[in-house]
Symmetry: C2
Subunit: 364 residues, 2 copies
Amino acid sequence: MNYHELSTPALTVDLDILERNLDRMAALCRKHGLGLRPHIKTHKTPELARLQVERGAVGLTVAKVGEAEVMAGAGLDDLLVAFPIWGAENLRRLAALTRNHRIILSLDDRATAQELSRAMSAQGAHIGVLVEFDSGLRRCGLEPGAACVELAQQITRLPGLTFRGLMTYSGNIWGTEEERMGEAERVAERVQRALAAFEEARLPVEIVSGGSTPSAPLAGKIPRITEIRPGTYVYNDLNTFYQGVCQLEDCAARVVATVVSTAVLGRAMIDAGSKTLSSDALGSGPKSGHGYVVEAPDAKLIKLNEEHGHLDISNSAHRFQVGEVVTVIPNHVCTCVNMHDEVFLIRKEEVVGCWRVAARGKIR
Amino acid sequence: MNYHELSTPALTVDLDILERNLDRMAALCRKHGLGLRPHIKTHKTPELARLQVERGAVGLTVAKVGEAEVMAGAGLDDLLVAFPIWGAENLRRLAALTRNHRIILSLDDRATAQELSRAMSAQGAHIGVLVEFDSGLRRCGLEPGAACVELAQQITRLPGLTFRGLMTYSGNIWGTEEERMGEAERVAERVQRALAAFEEARLPVEIVSGGSTPSAPLAGKIPRITEIRPGTYVYNDLNTFYQGVCQLEDCAARVVATVVSTAVLGRAMIDAGSKTLSSDALGSGPKSGHGYVVEAPDAKLIKLNEEHGHLDISNSAHRFQVGEVVTVIPNHVCTCVNMHDEVFLIRKEEVVGCWRVAARGKIR
């Protein structure tokens, strides 16, 4: 079946593009001697995680216990839960997972470490811990320096926990190449400062986890990182494209939609709205619009309701017709994938399979 | 169990508030002699749809065939599919549903009617059709007047279809009460114009479907509507609140979240991001922010990542602590609910049950 015959709306993944993206990131990490521990938040799909491991990933990154359970349940191991998990039930599930799987968790607070230790001890379990420091995003993470060392020392004293190293998320490396270069310098300085404090305290740091898709090309500029956690690179999206980190031809995930109304002058409605594309705004490039219409880039996706995508076609040369199929590259592919129970696999326009997005919606 | 003990993040619904909201809208419709055909897009939950029917709803509105299947499968009947369904497989499923259920569909295009007729005929099935006209939103719908009559006449000639009436979505009735009053006048004029054309053509119009939550209080200003399709009123949200259509105490759906990091000065991170709240921007009131923190309204939810909600606490009197539970009223409850597989039911702070959001993610 050609992808034009899919029931719409539907999320598709071009396998040729995906495989090329996977190979490129694996090569980049080999070149820089970096461990690749991809974040599964983009695809949420064990089959794709396995392709990453087959290409040399040292493990996987997840954000929630539910995501870890899905990946572990599919036979994938060595998981970094890159989120400070809280709550008795969430921690009980996490501790249960460590019985048969290698799990590491990141955190930045003494109370979080204590709760984690309590939950691990209750099950006689054990977990590796990374101390998160802030490399400039101002989200999570301690100030690099003494505060990180103090937390690490506390962790070494708590039952059920082993201090394994440091983590930071440099989401501030974002924007034009020049902007990203500038931020990368600041991040490098903060990584250096964090490590200097541990050297002074003679506390060994095994793992230094960083990275993201937009910062991956700048890996050479940030020394002493041992592994990176890019997610978006598998599929790419408009945010990646507008930062110059990929070409449109590298966008593997596209929403197939149908034009369902042309009744209003200057408008065409497609059957893909925010329930299909997600309402994430464009954070890079023109910072407006809700997706790129491959067949008619001069038509602007100006607004989304849940089920309607509003195309402004007043400046488009394309003649939109009700029933016509179009493909849309989303602004932010991670949140788009999270709207879908399955993705349809395409090779040379033919639908060759389907993956269930098994870790979709695992908010806990 | 008190709702503070829920694993977070979690979506909760206060049943006392919900029941009050249901009663109010039912009373409003009785007062104006309007049929109430609530849109299930807000709750996507058969149990709640049943409460609406028990309070006198004449039927339900859905957007997609998958939503109709879920509601019909739960024993709910008389469904308006308020979306121009396209595609062979989607139409085949729709036709199959009409065998044991009363279904109506809205559309605005000759080709859509022809495809629908073909699909119905193939199964010897029959469906009622509403012609959609545009009352000023510029989304779907023909210009009120001759074009609507022509499409209705075509529908009467097509096998498997019965012309039942007209539909419009007045999403343009939005904003302050003054703005909404002004738009309501324009909508009323366009409804009148649509009906005048049918009177001139001596074509009877049984149903005139309109309405929404923000326009419901103005029902008296738009004569000749026979039934309305509000959705949001069951739960309400910040968009409804800032339009003055409800009070904060009428917001039944709230996200329970935990503070997971306070490591960065002036910031507190909660474990509810766009995967939990949805990234829909506020379309009313201050038009900024991602939700209202009940325990500390002076803390601003300034940014969402998938799993992180960024609270700017620099101007808050509240002392945020890691592990603390907070509740958040979402900007847009429909898209928020769509992120959740279940909602937890609360009465006087106690968790008394759980509903599966059975029609979540039914994009087709």
